[in-house]
Amino acid sequence: MSGIHKTYHTGSVQAHVLRGISVEIKKNEYVAIMGPSGSGKSTLMNIMGFLDVHDAGEYLFDNRPVEGYDEEELAEIRNKRVGFVFQMFYLLPKMSALDNVKLPMLYANIPEKEQEERAKQALISVGLEDRMHHKPNELSGGQQQRVSIARALVNEPKVIFADEPTGNLDTHSGNEVMEIFTRLNREGKTIIMITHEDEIAAYTKRKIIIRDGLITSDEINHSQK
């Protein structure tokens, strides 16, 4: 992507959050985006992950410009080609872990039987084989985050975006979650995550630092954990 701009308008106040960001992320990279709050790192990730749209600049996803995609096409990309993991998990509270993981497949019109099979596989891969029928409030924060990773994985996207995935977790669960991401990266997924913590960034292979809407540092992490 190059020259990305984003301005928010709140009443008469304008916030020019991204002031021309240019960055290229290749297949199977493992990137941490860091920066103080208000730097624009979340906005950048939301634009990369198709949750938000940029005002100016060019964004190529899979070598194709994304400007001009309509709602249906955007929904399909969010559904099948990228997966999102949030700091607040955003699981549906009344549904079991299994149902939560099935949700993206429901929107992909996958048959019920296959949904069941794949959702189970996804939960097993994050180590929750004995928690499938628990509701989110019966799970610990780390377990909830693993459910949301399973949900992000289940439609087999190439890229996974994670917005401070360990922000609400204790160190131990945070490390567990990071180990899952590291394994996924080894298995070929591109992973882009936001974090505050250097310890978390240490798991990744590349560290991008943003300040006031511009990239101030972009370096390869040679000492990956």
Partner: protein, 410 residues
């Protein structure tokens, strides 16, 4: 059995906030329940009126003083006194072919006393054929004879309710009562007939017509002649004969100048049926208002919960739901909500109507219990429409937001 995920999602959406679901449903329940109940009560009241008329018999013709159009009431109902209908008219009608019997009436009201018991009541001067014409038999004692009627005897026959008021503990036969301070001797009690909306034949005192006219009312004219005809099919012919006879006797040349009205009970049934339909329509519009009020309730609740639903929609969009899929889910939720609410409303409304019908039947009224399918279809349709139009609004708004804006909605 497990429901498909989409259905379980809808149920989860509905019951995420139980109070909200309950309040939303309450609006639908009350709206639909009242439409169903009001329509059923209207139908019941209609059957009460037509039934009580049919109870009197369909081979009866009534002659009332004063002219009337076919559909309207005679002017005497409006309190205008027409004095041209007389006892002699009644006697001539009695001699017409196909006439089995007639009963002439002159009514009044006043204080009626027996010893210390006293009540304001209506009394009717009637002719000796009253029990035959009205199908109203004597339970105790006897009715008066034509001879007693002609000679203006001061005797009276009581309806059962009137008997209870005047002689709660004793046998009234042979005892005296006072009507407008004139002594009458009780000679009989009528059988219980059951009241109708129009009149209560059990709550009256019957005296010979002549006595009533001379002593109690001081008038020569009649309030009503009722004619019993030999078979329902002869009613129209006989009505024509009666009209011709009365025109001849009253020296009327054109039907437009009639000073009387001849009616069969069929006409009365039709007329009252028309009035009832109007009334029912009126009641239904009130019910429709309650449905709208329920709908406004639904809107309030839906708007109240925009925030939490917006986040949920944001999440669903973030994992790839299309706007259509999100709208469909809301549609399904509304369908379930109005479906369940509608079902409870129908049960609730039917129960109320059944209790009313049961009570009315216990009290001796003719009252049909009838739930109109149209009322159910219309009310569910309206509730669904209301739910969709108001419930879809926040959903539509949220489905158009960027997922991240919806997720972060405060």
């Amino acid at each position: 059995m497990r429901f498909p995920l989409s259905l379980r999602l809808a149920f989860a959406g509905i019951f995420e906030n139980r109070i909200r679901a309950f309040l939303t449903m309450l609006g639908i329940i009350i709206g639909i329940g009242s439409v169903v109940a009001i329509m059923a009560i209207g139908a019941g009241a209609k059957s009460l009126i037509t039934g009580s008329i049919e109870k009197m018999g369909t081979n009866l013709i009534g002659v009332m003083p004063g002219a009337a159009s076919d559909s309207g009431p005679p002017v005497s109902v409006m309190g205008i006194t027409i004095t041209t209908l007389t006892y002699d008219d009644a006697m001539v009608i009695k001699s017409l072919p196909n006439v089995l019997g007639i009963s002439a009436y002159a009514n009044g009201s006043g204080e009626i006393t027996a010893g210390k018991q006293s009540t304001d009541g209506t009394f009717s001067g009637v002719t000796a054929q009253y029990p035959f014409v009205e199908n109203h038999n004597i339970e105790k004692g006897r009715f008066f004879t034509e001879n007693e009627e002609r000679t203006s005897k001061k005797i009276a026959v009581l309806g059962v309710d009137m008997k209870e008021k005047l002689f709660p503990y004793t046998n009234p036969i042979g005892q005296d009562i006072k009507i407008k301070n004139i002594n009458f001797t009780v000679i009989g009690i009528l059988e219980k007939k059951g009241s109708s909306i129009v009149s209560n034949p059990d709550n009256q005192v019957l005296v010979p017509l002549n006595t009533a006219q001379k002593l109690l009312l001081g008038q020569k004219h009649l309030g009503l002649i009722r004619i019993k005809v030999d078979g329902e099919e002869k009613v129209p012919v006989t009505m024509e004969q009666i009209k011709r006879t009365l025109r001849y006797r009253h020296e009327i040349t054109s039907p437009e100048d009639d000073d009387f009205t001849v009616r069969s009970l069929d006409q009365a049934v039709d007329m009252l049926g028309g009035i009832m339909e109007g009334l029912q329509f009126f009641l239904a519009s009130i019910a429709a208002i309650s449905l709208i009020v329920g709908g406004i309730g639904i809107t309030n609740i839906m708007l109240m919960t925009v925030k939490e639903r917006t986040r949920e929609i944001g999440l669903k969009k973030a994992i790839g739901a299309t706007p259509v899929q999100i709208k469909n889910q809301f549609l399904l939720e509304t369908l379930i909500l109005t479906g369940i609410g509608g079902l409870i409303g129908i049960i609730f409304g039917s129960l109320i109507s059944w209790i009313i019908a049961f009570g009315a039947q216990k009290m001796g009224y003719t009252w049909n219990f009838y739930i109109s399918p149209i009322s159910i279809i219309i009310s569910i349709g309206v509730a669904f429409f209301v739910g969709i139009s108001f419930g879809m609004y926040p959903a539509r708004k949220a489905s158009k937001l960027n997922p991240i804006d919806a997720l972060r909605y405060e």
